[in-house]
Symmetry: C2
Subunit: 301 residues, 2 copies
């Protein structure tokens, strides 16, 4: 079974355990709409990949950490799509939650998914109870104030925001939580694995900026041109398109370079290179412009 | 120092540890606005009172559980006040968060407070790590789907809702989490203490309905008449004003009756009776109508 199918099965089980004939039916439906169908599930795949690289001695806990990260990611998408933020009608190729179920249920769906994320990890921590607190702290730091994705999103409400602070918080923070919590779920040190997530998260945000400019709505699963419309900081705007692509390649190279020697390091480097190619296919660009990415791919092969 | 001052000091410390010069300043301010000044802080007081009644052998953990409950309560108020729900301009006698900082920061403030709640408990669990998972599960069940306060709020979006299901989820669930987590933080059994929270939560909701009809905006700290305006289920509407007051007295009596024999049972019964009197002062009603309340107060004295 592919990692995505494993993840989707675990998400399905978690959702099911939070549904009841005696509970509000529309809330359950809206939560399902927010989680399925998924996107690339890159964050939870990273959690699982890092846990695997560290020996993965408690697969129940690493899977719970992975889907908790995904639940929180889905929650952030639902809230980001709200009329007061992006006012997006579409997400992952279907109607956004608030468009389908109304604004009230969209707010509540995001809230419920955050709560479900924590409950899911707690429930799975029976075998390794001493790992629970560090995982919760890692994830909370990647999500909450002052440096998590919620802080990242709120930089858009500040009169001034530095691009790197904004990107690090808006995307990098949850990627760092994804890699670090994968290590912690396997009893390994979090700090060694944070920078992989940070570099990847920044790369992911840069790719998103580039795609937003290129107008790749099919990939984004949401309308393109949003950054400009919402006057958001964007590396494509700040560095120019070519500069942004070069920056992306540099970040991917740093991500791969940060992976420590361990049991599963080769597989992990391959996953990162594969994901980078999926984000910004080489075929989109003239040869030569992407020398950094080519160098890192060669290094992996 | 009074329990409220203790709680406020712990909340202040938790907020401070989530602020940074390098983080978004407006988010920090909005979070502060949501938490201070507080209301009656009845839920976290209950957590502390139950922990105390159970021996309170880890005061750091019981305090963290208490303020986590309060943070989540504050988050729910911020989201409930949003334009898509109550569209309330005022809360706890000051402007609501979205009125002061805009809708986007209000959504993010609620999200950040939920995350902060979990992180706070995890950080305080060092001495009793095996208690962390049960506390997180208890609180999550009181907050999330399918029976927590988020589910309670979403009953308002369903075509049909049973009054008791609605009230149990909307208010009772977090009260039950408050009492049960207080017991768990002291290493005691949660189930023995859940019904106290459930009865009190239902009583609190009934009192809120009555006050909404009586128009006690000063106490509510928000506009009165909201239930009727938003076509919400209300016990004052369903049972009539006198019937609702009788129901309130019955619930308070059941709450007091549910307190098990333990080290601090007398003090706890007094706290409940005191809180009931604060919610619906006897002086508001003709003598005789409140025979149940008087009986329970006599029982306590």
């Amino acid at each position: 079974m592919s990692p995505i199918k494993h993840l989707d099965r675990a998400l399905e089980q978690a959702l099911k355990s939070h549904e009841s004939d005696k509970g509000p039916a529309l809330l359950s439906k809206a939560i399902r709409h927010a989680v399925f169908p998924g996107g690339a599930r890159i964050r939870p795949q990273l959690t699982l990949a890092v846990a695997h690289a560290c020996g993965n001695d408690d697969p129940q806990l690493s899977m719970a950490s992975a889907i908790a990260i995904e639940m929180i990611h889905c929650a952030s998408l639902v809230h980001d799509d709200l009329p007061c933020f992006d006012n997006a009608d579409m997400r992952r190729g279907q109607t956004s939650v608030h468009k389908e179920y109304g604004e009230r249920l969209a707010v509540l769906t995001g809230d419920a998914l955050i709560v479900m994320a924590y409950e899911t990890i707690a429930t799975a921590s029976r075998r390794s109870s001493q790992r629970l607190a560090p995982i919760i702290r890692t994830i909370s730091q990647g999500v909450g104030a002052p440096f998590g994705i919620i802080a990242g999103q709120s930089w858009e409400c500040e009169p001034q925001a530095a691009l790197s602070e904004y990107q690090r918080a808006k995307t990098g923070a949850l990627f760092a939580a994804a890699t670090a919590s994968g290590a912690q779920a396997a009893g390994a040190d979090a700090d060694t694995w944070k920078s992989l997530g940070e570099w990847l998260g920044e790369a992911y945000q840069v790719a998103d900026d580039i795609r937003d400019v290129l107008g790749d709505a099919q990939f984004l699963g949401k309308p393109a041109g949003q950054d400009q419309e919402h006057h958001r900081p964007s590396s494509a705007k700040e560095l120019g398109l070519n500069g942004a692509v070069e920056h992306f390649d540099l970040l991917v190279g740093k991500a791969i370079g940060s992976i420590p020697n361990c049991y599963g390091d080769k597989a992990l480097k391959k996953l990162v290179a594969f994901e980078a190619e999926r984000l910004l296919p080489s075929s989109w660009f003239e040869r030569g412009e992407r020398h950094v990415a080519i160098a890192t791919q060669r290094q992996v092969a």
